[in-house]
Symmetry: C2
Subunit: 400 residues, 2 copies
């Protein structure tokens, strides 16, 4: 107990009491070692940040607009930024959405948290891909939500397996998918699967959350339209973010959804933080409206494509033959699997050789596969990508 009282109950709420540090936290802890090469985090490369463009925006706008940039903004976000996002979604994604159906969030992480709280009561279950984004798991668990994972193949969530799962679990509160360059696998869901999932949720009356943080970062292959753009009902809830195409430090994401969802999210947003940073919103709005975004995305793609290529070439040069890996057409992550290996148990050996990954098991909402790991290719320098893969190759060879 906290003070000298005699209460039996814990000081903390039952949900928070159950919360534990995630595998990501544990991975981050070893990073203070300067010799460590980390493929663990999910950080954009700082070289991808438009520092000069932002400084230009600030210098031109702050003297006259500074007072507005520093004041409280509307709970749902500034009108000018919601307008800019609405236009951007139409132009880049083929998504027709009114600015009134968009709400700004503090990163799409906050969007996930708010949607979990919005759609599910404690103890309710939802369906996700297996594996799925680790901090979606963290976020949904924070509302006491249970997750049922559905297996994936190289075309995304297996719709056949989804149908089977829905027989055993017929009333999920929502289905959560990351169709483009999925975190952690790098896999992109095929157009057929997107259409089929849309059919299933429409048929069964299930809410669908489409998380699209990496869609703008396609290095090769043909763009596949977001599920949201295929959904004429407008019910699909779409999550976007500025973290990968502008800056994660600004903490700006957004949710596009139907009227009633946005209306309730507004009430939640008031309760949670009254609104996201006004300064960040001004920067993002100018970044879009001045055309900087359109000019800058190709630069990020060029940088990341180079790093993905370099990592895959290094795999091919140094990894033993029995190590498999995905070949993502975009995004930030590659999924590496060595059958028969337990990557959880192997991690201390890797850390000992100064290379870090995130264990694959962290990404499974239920029991999961232990033979995989997630590697990030966007953050490390070129030298560290090659050297880190060499180290990891030696760990794969020596550990058994």
């Amino acid at each position: 107990m906290m003070r000298s009282g005699l209460l039996v109950r814990s000081k903390f709420s039952s949900i928070v009491n159950e919360m534990r540090p995630s595998a990501i936290d544990i991975t981050l802890k070893v990073l203070s070692d300067p010799e460590m090469i980390s493929f663990g985090g999910g950080m954009p490369n700082p070289e991808s940040f438009p520092v000069n463009e932002i400084l230009q925006i600030l210098n031109e706008r702050f003297p006259t607009k500074g007072k507005n940039m520093l004041q409280y903004g509307p709970i749902n976000g500034t009108e000018s930024l919601r307008n800019a996002i609405s236009e951007m979604l139409l132009k880049r994604e083929g998504i027709k959405i009114s600015p009134n159906n968009i709400i700004l969030t503090s990163g799409s992480q906050q969007g996930l948290y708010m949607l979990g709280k919005l759609l599910a009561d404690r103890g309710d279950y939802v369906i996700t891909e297996a594996p799925t984004y680790v901090d979606a798991i963290v976020s949904f668990r924070a509302s006491g939500i249970r997750m049922i994972g559905v297996e994936m193949d190289s075309a995304g969530m297996k719709t056949e397996k989804l149908r089977e799962t829905l027989k055993r679990y017929p009333r999920p509160r929502f289905i959560y998918v990351i169709p483009n360059f999925q975190n952690p696998t790098g896999i992109t869901m095929s157009l057929e699967r997107r259409k089929e999932i849309l059919e299933i949720v429409e048929e069964k009356g299930i809410a669908l959350i489409e998380d699209d943080p990496y869609g703008n970062l396609r290095f090769c292959g043909r763009k596949i339209p977001p599920i949201k753009s295929l959904d004429e009902s407008g019910d699909t809830i779409y999550l976007g973010t500025f973290s990968k195409i502008l800056s994660p430090g600004l903490r700006l994401g957004y949710i596009a959804g139907p009227d009633d969802v946005i209306e309730k999210l507004l009430l939640e947003k008031e309760a949670i933080d009254i609104g996201s940073s006004t300064l960040s919103q001004f920067i993002a709005e100018e970044y879009i409206s001045r055309g900087y975004l359109e000019k800058h995305i190709p630069k990020i793609i060029k940088l990341y494509k180079h790093k993905r290529d370099l990592m895959i070439e290094s795999f091919e040069s140094y990894f033993p033959d029995n190590v498999q890996f995905t070949r993502p057409e975009g995004g930030m992550f590659i999924w590496v699997t060595k059958k028969g290996t337990n990557t959880d148990k192997m991690l201390p050996f890797a850390i000992n050789r100064k290379v870090v990954y995130v264990v694959g098991s962290a990404f499974y909402p239920n029991r999961g596969d232990h033979s995989s790991m997630r590697l990030n290719f966007t953050y490390s320098s070129d030298e560290n990508i090659v050297e880190g893969v060499k180290r990891l190759a030696s760990v794969f060879r020596d550990y058994s």
Copy 2:
């Protein structure tokens, strides 16, 4: 139901389903009328924002540190800002707290939300002042928390009433107080009451949340130390914010508390938004470490003291004799009461005469008094303060 399915349950979670727009939202809706004078919001005056200082910080630091300012930061906040806050709390408040016992939040609003979620399960009850901060009510309700209000007088929460309440409700999950220039009343809790509340929570083993958004804005009278500085156990949970001494648009607040509280808040923060704006944190840190904060606070105080004086002088000139009001020694709000009047019912008449306030009843966690209103004196221009009080005086006279 959302789609064509046949589910009986609502689309939304039961907690969110119960959420309703607050009185503040309703007040904000009339502000698009340019002739409206609003004493309703809780906004700082834009003249109080250190626009030049921030532009200087950005110009000097962004070219070299921009990449860091735009990257993800630590979940609990940057070390340099937590160090700066730790020093500031010691120097300004006499609070001894390690930087490791501080976590950054997106405004103190998020701190309130996180603490509600941390300390109470759905259906649990807590104790607050009556009246209390409206968005604390919104925030706690978002976690399904019930509130029991304890009456105040000119020295703050009545400790005698608190003891009585604790006989009927012996196991509150926490007690929430705003000792300095309370929102909405402007009342400051006496040193004796602070000590007594501390004794009570120590004796009964109840968590104490001290919210101090306005403490730096004292216009006159002697500073009274925060409860946190009197608490040798270190258990008091203290909330601070940069919204009133720097900028609300940066969305930066912090919680200072004991180890186990901070450890759990870190897990919550990861689930909710992974961290607050790194850019905002860099600005706040430089603002403190360069001494701008110390130089700037007296300017804000001078501006607000003038506005408080002007509002009170206008009350004395124009209000009917039977209208009572508090005389706050700092902060942003005055509490105005006319016995026998229902300010909820009077509001449409005030809006008709182009002046807006927040109805007093909005600030009561349970049934409350309807004869009061909250007036903000920091946001309006001097002309509007005088004119708005004149209009309100005419409403008081004509409405009955």
